[in-house]
Symmetry: C2
Subunit: 265 residues, 2 copies
């Protein structure tokens, strides 16, 4: 099954010519040096928290950072970062506002607080539209908060943002690992680069995830202890930056920079 | 927007005549007295754990119980219940095997351990196929482990299993609540019955979820403390039944039985 044409098996995404949409999106991200897709097998593992903390951490090191919340099923970064009343500016596309030094874009600017029960094709179109209209400009890092697991949206992002490298978040749970394993198999199959994995919400000593990642050939970037105080820091970036979670992410940022410098696998 | 025709806005699901598929599925579940869709706004809140424990708990009270894992994005009940090498039997459709006294059916019997990157339409079709072929027979309760959030799959299940009443699982987190709120709004909009909400993984005293559910008119069925020992009980039903989590679910089962007896809202 590991043929280079495997992508075709996943079906046609839209009736519009793909090359046109691809080239529009390519143009929008041409001055972005590194694209990191922060992804997980299932929800609730802390993916949005990692994406938010990592964006803040890289911005504070002086990098030009963008954060793109494409988790249309359960967008969270706007709450974590408390984006408030900010709005993108329309100017030959959409220019993301700056939030805490990060260029920030989210589907929630358009869906508001309403439920968004989009059917497959509409969902795909909304996502591609958002990728096609956002003007990121010059960036060192663009972090994408991905929808959890293997969905249409995941496949669309892989197809349209070919330079995206995956940072995978899991918890120590067998249930999380089960879906992460499937995601990793798919990424390897599609020849998508994987930067490594972060093990979040760790409660007890266990090598389960690390051992399994070694088997799969995925770099283990570090573990983060379960942080009870995180909830109260949501929406307060100063408080968030003081959490143990955030401090651990700063170390992991270092690992990610090293990995990217030496070439991801 | 609260028109009775709102469902139509969500688009056509398939080219096959809907009434034919509807009547096939209706026939399959005609001898099922109660259908409970165990649902959540986002993943990782313990939905599959609740669905599994509740199924076991009801079966032990002498009820005839079915568990239908339709969380195609991240199926977990087969791991929690350790279904092992069991298989459904083909007989004018598919007869679910009995696992720990529960009639059990999961997409994993067909997808195995492989990634299932189905596109929207294929996904819909796989789901509907599974609903249409499974012969549940006489049951007091059929619990459905739903895909998280508002997806095509959620909308398909609402459309095809009209008698399903929703049991909603959340955590105390603002991030979980944000997506749960959207799910509840959609269900109310579609006139789908909501049995109530369970607050899982509680760490600290907080009325945040309860207060907000009162506002939305959703019954608060109880809270479950974060249970560190749960992970080690996954796949071992005897151990699982001894956890604090399971014991709390037995109390919540009582609440659910009362609510169903008096009519859900």
């Amino acid at each position: 099954m590991r043929s280079p044409n495997r992508m075709k098996d996943y079906g046609s995404m839209s009736k519009e010519p793909e090359d046109v949409r691809l080239s529009v999106i390519d143009e929008r991200i041409k001055d972005v040096k590194n694209i990191i897709a922060v992804s997980s097998g299932k929800g609730g593992v802390g993916k949005s928290l990692v994406a938010s903390a990592l964006s803040l951490s890289l911005a504070r090191r002086g990098y030009r950072v963008g954060l793109f919340d494409l988790d249309l099923t359960s967008p969270s970064t706007h709450i974590i970062l408390n984006v408030g009343e900010t709005q993108p500016i329309e100017d030959k596309g959409i220019v993301p506002p700056k939030i805490h030094g990060i260029s920030y874009m989210s589907i929630t600017y358009y869906s508001g607080d309403h439920p968004t029960p989009l059917r497959g094709q509409e969902f795909s179109n909304a996502l591609i539209e958002l990728m096609a209209i956002t003007r990121w400009g010059d960036l060192d890092f663009l972090l994408i908060d991905m929808p959890p697991g293997i969905s249409d949206a995941t496949l669309d992002i892989i197809r349209f943002i070919k330079r995206a490298k995956f940072l995978i978040i899991t918890t120590p749970s067998k249930l999380a690992f089960e879906t992460v394993r499937k995601l990793i198999e798919l990424l390897l199959d599609l020849h998508v680069e994987i930067i490594g994995i972060v093990e979040n919400m760790k409660l007890k000593k266990s090598d389960f995830i690390k051992i399994n990642m070694d088997k799969l050939g995925v770099r283990y970037l570090g573990e983060i202890k379960f942080d009870e105080d995180l909830e109260e820091a949501l929406g307060d970036v100063d408080k968030f930056s003081e959490t143990d979670f955030f401090k651990k992410i700063e170390e992991i940022a270092e690992e990610i920079l090293k990995t990217l410098a030496s070439g991801a696998q």
